[in-house]
Symmetry: C2
Subunit: 237 residues, 2 copies
Amino acid sequence: MTKPIKLYELAGADEKIRFSPFCWRTRLALAHKGLTPETLPWRLTEKDAIAFSGQGRVPVLVHGEDCIADSWEIALYLERTYPDRPSLFGGAEAQGMARFFNQWADESLHAAIARILLPDIHALLHERDREYFRTTREAAFGTSFASLTAAREDLLTKFRQITKPLRSTLAKQNFLAGAAPNYADHIVFGEFQWARVASPVELLADDDPIAPWRDRMLDAYDGLARTIPAAASRQTV
Amino acid sequence: MTKPIKLYELAGADEKIRFSPFCWRTRLALAHKGLTPETLPWRLTEKDAIAFSGQGRVPVLVHGEDCIADSWEIALYLERTYPDRPSLFGGAEAQGMARFFNQWADESLHAAIARILLPDIHALLHERDREYFRTTREAAFGTSFASLTAAREDLLTKFRQITKPLRSTLAKQNFLAGAAPNYADHIVFGEFQWARVASPVELLADDDPIAPWRDRMLDAYDGLARTIPAAASRQTV
Protein backbone atom coordinates (compact mmCIF):
# COMPACT_ATOMS: atom_id res chain seq x y z
CA MET A 1 0.00 0.00 0.00
CA THR A 2 2.86 2.36 0.78
CA LYS A 3 4.27 3.39 -2.57
CA PRO A 4 8.04 4.02 -2.60
CA ILE A 5 9.20 7.63 -2.49
CA LYS A 6 12.10 8.83 -4.60
CA LEU A 7 13.81 12.13 -3.90
CA TYR A 8 16.22 13.81 -6.29
CA GLU A 9 18.80 15.68 -4.21
CA LEU A 10 21.67 17.99 -5.10
CA ALA A 11 25.01 16.21 -4.64
CA GLY A 12 28.60 17.36 -4.69
CA ALA A 13 31.52 15.85 -6.61
CA ASP A 14 31.38 13.24 -3.82
CA GLU A 15 27.84 12.01 -4.31
CA LYS A 16 27.42 11.35 -0.58
CA ILE A 17 27.72 15.09 0.11
CA ARG A 18 24.14 16.40 0.07
CA PHE A 19 24.00 20.04 1.03
CA SER A 20 21.06 21.78 -0.66
CA PRO A 21 19.03 23.69 1.97
CA PHE A 22 15.86 23.09 -0.03
CA CYS A 23 16.47 19.34 -0.22
CA TRP A 24 17.11 19.30 3.54
CA ARG A 25 13.73 20.88 4.17
CA THR A 26 12.21 17.94 2.35
CA ARG A 27 14.40 15.27 3.98
CA LEU A 28 13.42 16.51 7.44
CA ALA A 29 9.75 16.81 6.48
CA LEU A 30 9.82 13.19 5.27
CA ALA A 31 11.50 12.08 8.51
CA HIS A 32 8.89 14.02 10.51
CA LYS A 33 6.24 11.98 8.71
CA GLY A 34 8.20 8.78 9.43
CA LEU A 35 9.02 8.29 5.74
CA THR A 36 12.34 7.18 4.30
CA PRO A 37 12.86 8.09 0.64
CA GLU A 38 15.21 6.56 -1.85
CA THR A 39 17.50 9.53 -2.50
CA LEU A 40 18.97 10.02 -5.95
CA PRO A 41 22.06 12.19 -6.33
CA TRP A 42 21.70 14.92 -8.93
CA ARG A 43 24.13 17.49 -10.24
CA LEU A 44 23.27 21.05 -11.22
CA THR A 45 23.86 20.53 -14.92
CA GLU A 46 21.82 17.31 -15.17
CA LYS A 47 18.71 19.14 -16.31
CA ASP A 48 17.69 16.20 -18.52
CA ALA A 49 17.48 13.82 -15.56
CA ILE A 50 14.63 15.83 -13.98
CA ALA A 51 13.06 17.20 -17.18
CA PHE A 52 10.08 14.91 -16.48
CA SER A 53 9.21 17.25 -13.56
CA GLY A 54 8.65 20.14 -15.97
CA GLN A 55 11.38 22.29 -14.41
CA GLY A 56 15.10 22.23 -13.65
CA ARG A 57 15.64 22.34 -9.89
CA VAL A 58 15.69 19.97 -6.93
CA PRO A 59 14.17 18.71 -4.69
CA VAL A 60 11.92 16.66 -6.93
CA LEU A 61 9.79 14.05 -5.19
CA VAL A 62 8.33 11.09 -7.05
CA HIS A 63 5.64 9.04 -5.34
CA GLY A 64 3.81 6.51 -7.50
CA GLU A 65 2.19 8.54 -10.27
CA ASP A 66 2.80 11.85 -8.48
CA CYS A 67 5.75 14.10 -9.20
CA ILE A 68 6.20 17.28 -7.16
CA ALA A 69 8.93 19.91 -7.43
CA ASP A 70 9.63 22.79 -5.00
CA SER A 71 10.16 22.11 -1.31
CA TRP A 72 7.12 24.12 -0.18
CA GLU A 73 4.82 22.27 -2.59
CA ILE A 74 6.31 18.98 -1.42
CA ALA A 75 5.58 19.87 2.22
CA LEU A 76 1.94 20.62 1.37
CA TYR A 77 1.75 17.39 -0.63
CA LEU A 78 3.10 15.33 2.28
CA GLU A 79 0.72 16.98 4.74
CA ARG A 80 -2.23 16.30 2.42
CA THR A 81 -1.18 12.76 1.52
CA TYR A 82 -0.33 11.61 5.05
CA PRO A 83 -2.89 13.33 7.28
CA ASP A 84 -2.71 10.57 9.90
CA ARG A 85 1.02 10.91 10.44
CA PRO A 86 2.51 13.69 12.64
CA SER A 87 1.54 17.06 11.20
CA LEU A 88 4.29 19.13 9.59
CA PHE A 89 2.60 22.28 10.87
CA GLY A 90 0.08 21.69 13.64
CA GLY A 91 -3.05 23.25 12.16
CA ALA A 92 -4.18 25.71 9.50
CA GLU A 93 -2.85 28.79 11.30
CA ALA A 94 0.59 27.27 11.73
CA GLN A 95 0.61 26.25 8.05
CA GLY A 96 -0.12 29.85 7.06
CA MET A 97 2.62 31.10 9.39
CA ALA A 98 5.09 28.52 8.06
CA ARG A 99 4.90 30.18 4.66
CA PHE A 100 6.37 33.35 6.15
CA PHE A 101 9.27 31.31 7.56
CA ASN A 102 9.70 29.84 4.08
CA GLN A 103 9.83 33.29 2.47
CA TRP A 104 12.05 34.75 5.21
CA ALA A 105 14.48 31.84 4.83
CA ASP A 106 14.50 32.18 1.03
CA GLU A 107 14.72 35.95 0.77
CA SER A 108 16.58 37.15 3.87
CA LEU A 109 18.50 34.28 5.47
CA HIS A 110 19.45 32.33 2.34
CA ALA A 111 20.81 35.37 0.56
CA ALA A 112 22.92 36.34 3.58
CA ILE A 113 24.36 32.84 4.01
CA ALA A 114 24.87 32.31 0.27
CA ARG A 115 27.27 35.24 0.08
CA ILE A 116 29.40 33.57 2.75
CA LEU A 117 29.24 30.03 1.34
CA LEU A 118 29.35 30.38 -2.45
CA PRO A 119 33.13 30.15 -2.85
CA ASP A 120 33.24 27.00 -0.68
CA ILE A 121 30.29 25.42 -2.48
CA HIS A 122 32.05 25.98 -5.78
CA ALA A 123 34.92 23.82 -4.54
CA LEU A 124 32.53 21.03 -3.46
CA LEU A 125 30.82 20.65 -6.80
CA HIS A 126 31.44 18.13 -9.52
CA GLU A 127 33.95 19.56 -11.96
CA ARG A 128 31.40 19.71 -14.76
CA ASP A 129 29.06 21.86 -12.60
CA ARG A 130 31.61 24.44 -11.54
CA GLU A 131 31.64 26.81 -14.48
CA TYR A 132 27.84 26.80 -14.66
CA PHE A 133 27.65 27.49 -10.92
CA ARG A 134 30.16 30.32 -10.98
CA THR A 135 28.61 32.02 -14.00
CA THR A 136 25.00 31.83 -12.79
CA ARG A 137 25.76 32.80 -9.18
CA GLU A 138 28.17 35.62 -9.94
CA ALA A 139 25.48 37.05 -12.23
CA ALA A 140 22.71 36.55 -9.64
CA PHE A 141 24.67 38.17 -6.82
CA GLY A 142 26.32 40.80 -9.02
CA THR A 143 29.78 40.12 -7.65
CA SER A 144 32.72 37.75 -8.04
CA PHE A 145 33.52 34.86 -5.71
CA ALA A 146 36.88 36.49 -4.99
CA SER A 147 35.12 39.65 -3.78
CA LEU A 148 32.80 37.60 -1.58
CA THR A 149 35.73 35.82 0.03
CA ALA A 150 37.47 39.14 0.65
CA ALA A 151 34.31 40.56 2.26
CA ARG A 152 33.66 37.56 4.50
CA GLU A 153 33.97 39.35 7.85
CA ASP A 154 31.47 42.01 6.78
CA LEU A 155 29.14 39.33 5.45
CA LEU A 156 29.26 37.50 8.79
CA THR A 157 28.35 40.74 10.55
CA LYS A 158 25.39 41.19 8.20
CA PHE A 159 24.34 37.56 8.75
CA ARG A 160 24.37 38.08 12.52
CA GLN A 161 22.20 41.17 12.09
CA ILE A 162 19.64 39.34 9.92
CA THR A 163 19.47 36.41 12.34
CA LYS A 164 18.70 38.56 15.40
CA PRO A 165 15.01 37.52 15.58
CA LEU A 166 16.03 33.88 15.29
CA ARG A 167 18.56 34.31 18.10
CA SER A 168 16.13 36.03 20.47
CA THR A 169 13.39 33.49 19.73
CA LEU A 170 15.66 30.50 20.33
CA ALA A 171 16.97 32.08 23.53
CA LYS A 172 13.43 31.61 24.86
CA GLN A 173 12.25 28.26 23.51
CA ASN A 174 13.78 25.01 22.26
CA PHE A 175 12.37 25.06 18.73
CA LEU A 176 10.75 27.61 16.42
CA ALA A 177 7.50 25.67 16.87
CA GLY A 178 7.94 25.63 20.66
CA ALA A 179 8.63 22.37 22.47
CA ALA A 180 9.22 20.20 19.37
CA PRO A 181 10.26 20.91 15.78
CA ASN A 182 7.83 21.43 12.92
CA TYR A 183 8.29 22.48 9.30
CA ALA A 184 9.34 26.01 10.36
CA ASP A 185 12.34 24.40 12.06
CA HIS A 186 13.00 22.23 8.99
CA ILE A 187 13.01 25.30 6.74
CA VAL A 188 15.41 27.36 8.83
CA PHE A 189 17.64 24.47 9.85
CA GLY A 190 18.05 23.54 6.17
CA GLU A 191 20.05 26.74 5.78
CA PHE A 192 22.33 25.89 8.71
CA GLN A 193 22.80 22.34 7.45
CA TRP A 194 23.77 23.79 4.08
CA ALA A 195 26.43 25.91 5.80
CA ARG A 196 27.61 23.02 7.97
CA VAL A 197 28.07 20.61 5.06
CA ALA A 198 29.40 23.10 2.52
CA SER A 199 31.86 25.24 4.42
CA PRO A 200 34.25 25.10 7.38
CA VAL A 201 33.28 28.70 8.26
CA GLU A 202 31.49 28.80 11.63
CA LEU A 203 28.52 31.15 11.34
CA LEU A 204 27.71 31.26 15.05
CA ALA A 205 29.59 32.49 18.08
CA ASP A 206 30.09 29.93 20.88
CA ASP A 207 27.46 31.52 23.09
CA ASP A 208 24.89 32.05 20.32
CA PRO A 209 21.50 30.59 21.37
CA ILE A 210 21.05 29.43 17.77
CA ALA A 211 23.90 26.93 18.27
CA PRO A 212 22.17 24.63 20.81
CA TRP A 213 19.03 24.66 18.62
CA ARG A 214 21.20 23.62 15.66
CA ASP A 215 22.50 20.76 17.84
CA ARG A 216 18.95 19.77 18.75
CA MET A 217 18.03 19.71 15.07
CA LEU A 218 21.13 17.63 14.28
CA ASP A 219 19.99 15.17 16.97
CA ALA A 220 16.35 15.11 15.82
CA TYR A 221 14.93 12.25 13.76
CA ASP A 222 17.58 9.82 15.03
CA GLY A 223 20.40 12.17 14.05
CA LEU A 224 19.43 12.23 10.36
CA ALA A 225 21.24 15.49 9.57
CA ARG A 226 24.45 14.22 11.22
CA THR A 227 24.69 11.39 8.67
CA ILE A 228 26.40 13.91 6.35
CA PRO A 229 29.76 14.90 7.83
CA ALA A 230 30.43 18.60 8.43
CA ALA A 231 32.87 20.38 6.12
CA ALA A 232 34.93 21.36 9.17
CA SER A 233 35.40 17.67 10.09
CA ARG A 234 36.17 16.58 6.50
CA GLN A 235 39.06 19.01 6.19
CA THR A 236 42.43 18.73 7.77
CA VAL A 237 43.08 22.30 8.79
CA MET B 1 -18.17 37.35 36.54
CA THR B 2 -16.34 39.16 33.77
CA LYS B 3 -13.97 41.54 35.49
CA PRO B 4 -13.37 44.84 33.68
CA ILE B 5 -10.15 45.18 31.69
CA LYS B 6 -8.14 48.40 31.72
CA LEU B 7 -5.48 49.07 29.14
CA TYR B 8 -2.91 51.87 29.42
CA GLU B 9 -2.11 53.06 25.90
CA LEU B 10 0.35 55.57 24.50
CA ALA B 11 -1.44 58.75 23.37
CA GLY B 12 -0.37 61.81 21.43
CA ALA B 13 -0.93 65.46 22.35
CA ASP B 14 -4.46 64.73 21.14
CA GLU B 15 -5.38 61.94 23.53
CA LYS B 16 -7.55 60.23 20.92
CA ILE B 17 -4.48 59.57 18.78
CA ARG B 18 -3.28 56.11 19.84
CA PHE B 19 -0.39 54.93 17.70
CA SER B 20 1.90 52.60 19.67
CA PRO B 21 2.48 49.41 17.64
CA PHE B 22 2.80 47.42 20.87
CA CYS B 23 -0.51 48.74 22.21
CA TRP B 24 -2.15 47.87 18.88
CA ARG B 25 -0.99 44.28 19.20
CA THR B 26 -2.88 44.15 22.48
CA ARG B 27 -5.97 45.98 21.23
CA LEU B 28 -6.34 43.54 18.34
CA ALA B 29 -5.69 40.54 20.59
CA LEU B 30 -8.43 41.73 22.94
CA ALA B 31 -10.81 42.20 19.98
CA HIS B 32 -9.91 38.72 18.72
CA LYS B 33 -11.01 37.39 22.12
CA GLY B 34 -14.19 39.47 21.92
CA LEU B 35 -13.05 41.73 24.78
CA THR B 36 -13.42 45.51 24.97
CA PRO B 37 -11.06 47.21 27.39
CA GLU B 38 -11.37 50.58 29.01
CA THR B 39 -8.41 52.35 27.41
CA LEU B 40 -6.48 54.91 29.42
CA PRO B 41 -4.35 57.47 27.58
CA TRP B 42 -0.78 57.62 28.81
CA ARG B 43 2.11 59.86 27.85
CA LEU B 44 5.75 58.83 27.63
CA THR B 45 6.86 60.90 30.61
CA GLU B 46 4.06 59.72 32.93
CA LYS B 47 6.19 57.03 34.50
CA ASP B 48 4.47 57.48 37.87
CA ALA B 49 1.06 56.59 36.44
CA ILE B 50 2.19 53.03 35.61
CA ALA B 51 4.79 52.60 38.35
CA PHE B 52 2.42 50.04 39.93
CA SER B 53 3.28 47.72 37.03
CA GLY B 54 6.92 47.60 38.13
CA GLN B 55 8.22 49.08 34.86
CA GLY B 56 7.82 52.14 32.68
CA ARG B 57 6.33 51.17 29.32
CA VAL B 58 2.92 50.50 27.80
CA PRO B 59 0.84 48.50 27.10
CA VAL B 60 -0.07 47.71 30.69
CA LEU B 61 -3.17 45.58 31.18
CA VAL B 62 -5.05 45.52 34.46
CA HIS B 63 -7.64 42.80 34.99
CA GLY B 64 -9.00 42.44 38.52
CA GLU B 65 -5.99 41.69 40.69
CA ASP B 66 -3.78 40.94 37.71
CA CYS B 67 -1.43 43.47 36.17
CA ILE B 68 0.58 42.52 33.07
CA ALA B 69 3.07 44.59 31.12
CA ASP B 70 4.64 43.76 27.72
CA SER B 71 2.45 42.94 24.73
CA TRP B 72 3.78 39.39 24.34
CA GLU B 73 3.13 38.57 28.01
CA ILE B 74 -0.35 40.08 27.69
CA ALA B 75 -1.09 37.85 24.67
CA LEU B 76 -0.05 34.75 26.62
CA TYR B 77 -2.13 35.94 29.58
CA LEU B 78 -5.24 36.41 27.43
CA GLU B 79 -4.79 33.02 25.79
CA ARG B 80 -4.41 31.36 29.21
CA THR B 81 -7.23 33.31 30.87
CA TYR B 82 -9.77 32.93 28.06
CA PRO B 83 -9.18 29.43 26.68
CA ASP B 84 -12.78 29.09 25.51
CA ARG B 85 -12.71 32.20 23.34
CA PRO B 86 -11.13 32.18 19.84
CA SER B 87 -7.47 31.23 20.12
CA LEU B 88 -4.91 33.97 19.47
CA PHE B 89 -2.59 31.39 17.94
CA GLY B 90 -4.33 28.13 16.97
CA GLY B 91 -2.28 25.60 18.90
CA ALA B 92 1.06 25.15 20.63
CA GLU B 93 3.08 25.08 17.39
CA ALA B 94 1.53 28.32 16.17
CA GLN B 95 2.19 29.93 19.56
CA GLY B 96 5.85 29.00 19.29
CA MET B 97 6.00 30.34 15.74
CA ALA B 98 4.25 33.57 16.76
CA ARG B 99 7.19 34.40 18.98
CA PHE B 100 9.43 34.57 15.92
CA PHE B 101 6.99 37.02 14.31
CA ASN B 102 7.17 39.02 17.54
CA GLN B 103 10.95 39.13 17.47
CA TRP B 104 11.10 39.82 13.72
CA ALA B 105 8.65 42.70 14.12
CA ASP B 106 10.58 44.11 17.08
CA GLU B 107 14.09 43.71 15.75
CA SER B 108 13.85 43.98 11.97
CA LEU B 109 10.58 45.62 10.94
CA HIS B 110 10.15 48.05 13.84
CA ALA B 111 13.68 49.40 13.54
CA ALA B 112 13.26 49.96 9.80
CA ILE B 113 9.90 51.75 10.17
CA ALA B 114 11.02 53.76 13.21
CA ARG B 115 13.78 55.46 11.23
CA ILE B 116 11.12 56.67 8.78
CA LEU B 117 8.53 57.72 11.36
CA LEU B 118 10.45 59.21 14.27
CA PRO B 119 10.41 62.83 13.09
CA ASP B 120 6.64 62.68 12.48
CA ILE B 121 5.99 60.99 15.82
CA HIS B 122 7.89 63.75 17.55
CA ALA B 123 5.41 66.26 16.13
CA LEU B 124 2.43 64.19 17.34
CA LEU B 125 3.52 64.00 20.95
CA HIS B 126 2.40 66.06 23.90
CA GLU B 127 4.73 69.02 24.27
CA ARG B 128 6.06 67.76 27.59
CA ASP B 129 7.05 64.43 25.99
CA ARG B 130 8.94 65.85 23.03
CA GLU B 131 12.34 66.58 24.51
CA TYR B 132 12.40 63.22 26.28
CA PHE B 133 11.44 61.47 23.05
CA ARG B 134 14.02 63.26 20.93
CA THR B 135 16.85 62.70 23.39
CA THR B 136 16.17 59.01 24.02
CA ARG B 137 15.49 58.13 20.36
CA GLU B 138 18.38 60.07 18.87
CA ALA B 139 20.64 58.26 21.35
CA ALA B 140 19.08 54.86 20.62
CA PHE B 141 19.36 55.25 16.84
CA GLY B 142 22.68 57.09 16.92
CA THR B 143 21.47 59.82 14.58
CA SER B 144 19.52 63.08 14.55
CA PHE B 145 15.91 63.42 13.42
CA ALA B 146 17.08 65.88 10.77
CA SER B 147 19.42 63.25 9.31
CA LEU B 148 16.63 60.68 9.30
CA THR B 149 14.34 63.03 7.40
CA ALA B 150 17.08 63.75 4.88
CA ALA B 151 17.68 60.01 4.38
CA ARG B 152 14.00 59.09 3.97
CA GLU B 153 14.20 57.74 0.40
CA ASP B 154 17.05 55.40 1.33
CA LEU B 155 15.18 54.32 4.45
CA LEU B 156 12.11 53.48 2.38
CA THR B 157 14.27 51.37 0.08
CA LYS B 158 15.68 49.54 3.08
CA PHE B 159 12.15 49.04 4.49
CA ARG B 160 11.03 47.51 1.19
CA GLN B 161 13.99 45.14 1.29
CA ILE B 162 13.27 44.00 4.85
CA THR B 163 9.58 43.45 4.08
CA LYS B 164 10.23 41.18 1.08
CA PRO B 165 9.21 37.98 2.91
CA LEU B 166 6.03 39.68 4.12
CA ARG B 167 5.24 40.80 0.58
CA SER B 168 5.76 37.38 -1.00
CA THR B 169 3.76 35.65 1.76
CA LEU B 170 0.82 38.02 1.45
CA ALA B 171 0.88 37.68 -2.33
CA LYS B 172 -0.11 34.06 -1.72
CA GLN B 173 -2.56 34.13 1.16
CA ASN B 174 -4.97 36.59 2.79
CA PHE B 175 -3.42 36.66 6.25
CA LEU B 176 -0.15 35.62 7.87
CA ALA B 177 -2.10 32.87 9.62
CA GLY B 178 -3.74 31.81 6.35
CA ALA B 179 -7.46 32.33 5.83
CA ALA B 180 -8.10 34.46 8.94
CA PRO B 181 -5.92 36.66 11.16
CA ASN B 182 -4.24 35.47 14.35
CA TYR B 183 -1.75 37.08 16.71
CA ALA B 184 1.00 36.98 14.04
CA ASP B 185 -1.18 39.34 11.99
CA HIS B 186 -1.82 41.52 15.05
CA ILE B 187 1.90 41.82 15.70
CA VAL B 188 2.88 42.81 12.18
CA PHE B 189 -0.17 44.95 11.50
CA GLY B 190 0.55 46.94 14.68
CA GLU B 191 3.64 48.30 12.92
CA PHE B 192 1.62 49.39 9.89
CA GLN B 193 -1.06 50.94 12.07
CA TRP B 194 1.69 52.86 13.86
CA ALA B 195 2.89 54.21 10.51
CA ARG B 196 -0.65 54.98 9.33
CA VAL B 197 -1.59 56.95 12.45
CA ALA B 198 1.74 58.69 13.00
CA SER B 199 2.87 59.78 9.58
CA PRO B 200 1.50 60.82 6.18
CA VAL B 201 4.38 58.94 4.49
CA GLU B 202 3.02 56.00 2.46
CA LEU B 203 5.27 53.00 3.06
CA LEU B 204 3.79 50.81 0.33
CA ALA B 205 3.61 51.13 -3.43
CA ASP B 206 0.10 50.96 -4.95
CA ASP B 207 0.58 47.42 -6.24
CA ASP B 208 2.25 46.08 -3.08
CA PRO B 209 0.47 42.87 -1.93
CA ILE B 210 0.96 44.07 1.65
CA ALA B 211 -1.52 46.93 0.99
CA PRO B 212 -4.68 44.79 0.54
CA TRP B 213 -3.73 42.80 3.66
CA ARG B 214 -3.41 46.09 5.55
CA ASP B 215 -6.91 46.96 4.32
CA ARG B 216 -8.22 43.58 5.47
CA MET B 217 -6.69 44.17 8.90
CA LEU B 218 -8.25 47.66 9.03
CA ASP B 219 -11.62 46.04 8.25
CA ALA B 220 -11.19 43.20 10.77
CA TYR B 221 -12.90 43.23 14.16
CA ASP B 222 -15.61 45.60 12.93
CA GLY B 223 -13.09 48.10 11.63
CA LEU B 224 -11.46 48.62 15.03
CA ALA B 225 -8.17 49.98 13.64
CA ARG B 226 -10.01 52.48 11.41
CA THR B 227 -11.46 54.19 14.49
CA ILE B 228 -8.21 56.17 14.69
CA PRO B 229 -7.92 58.45 11.64
CA ALA B 230 -4.84 58.15 9.45
CA ALA B 231 -2.26 60.93 9.62
CA ALA B 232 -2.66 61.43 5.87
CA SER B 233 -6.37 62.19 6.34
CA ARG B 234 -5.82 64.45 9.36
CA GLN B 235 -3.50 66.74 7.46
CA THR B 236 -4.45 69.25 4.82
CA VAL B 237 -1.66 68.83 2.34
